[in-house]
Symmetry: C2
């Protein structure tokens, strides 16, 4: 069902400092920066191998990410697996007892379509599945 690790998502409170760490210190190439209004988040994507690190700063405290930062502080937030067909993957998972958190796909970074899975079904690991926009990896 799940193709590969598309990215790890990291909650940060200072996006510029975190970008400098991953780009300058860890040597990852900066791929993209975007404000995703639908998720109230400002995000930076860096390349590492065929996958990415996604740095996430909440624009609203009253979001899942904002509450995560309040409770835990900065740190590892989620893991995302790449799929070819989001709806097909969600249907397969649903048939195996794993529900998505939202009724339908959400817009992710760089035009991707994403869904987060119910924490109760994933051993409390915040798990996202991602269908990249056509031509984007």
């Amino acid at each position: 069902v799940l193709g590969l690790i598309d990215h790890v998502g990291v909650a940060v409170d200072d996006l510029d400092a975190a970008t400098a760490l991953y780009e300058g210190t860890f040597g990852m190439a900066l791929a993209h920066r975007e404000t995703i209004a639908e998720q109230s988040v400002e995000a930076v994507l860096l390349d590492v191998g065929g996958g990415h690190v996604e740095l996430l700063r909440p624009l609203d405290e009253d979001t899942g990410l904002g509450r995560f930062l309040d409770r835990h502080g900065p740190g590892l937030h989620h893991v995302a697996y790449r799929v070819d067909d989001l709806e097909a993957a969600l249907e397969t998972l649903r048939g195996r007892g794993v529900e998505a958190l939202d009724p339908g796909p959400r817009r992710g970074i760089r035009g991707s379509r994403v869904a987060f899975l119910d924490l109760e079904s994933t051993g409390r690991v915040l798990t996202e599945i991602v269908e990249p926009a056509r031509g984007v990896h």
Copy 2:
């Protein structure tokens, strides 16, 4: 410096149940199961793309992983990046102000050599670097 996402590490309290979730529900191939005495952990490795999910159950409460489970419960624990040469990567990182948690490399799963980086240098993301054993990916 960091080649690709080698794996995400997941803290679990029931290794068989977690293995069933990742193998049966998520459809990842079970690659390896091992007790790593040096880290007081029982671990399962599953394949996803060119990377892995590493499920970790502590064998001792008085370890980093044991304390993590006590505080947070099961969940996403660390991210590991693959490198060709662990010592060279650590030296490069040290030159950029990032120290390892231990003085020298530790033995990881499947004969790999690993080092965890100081949380203060990584924006509180528990970050591991991994040099796989020769011929193992």
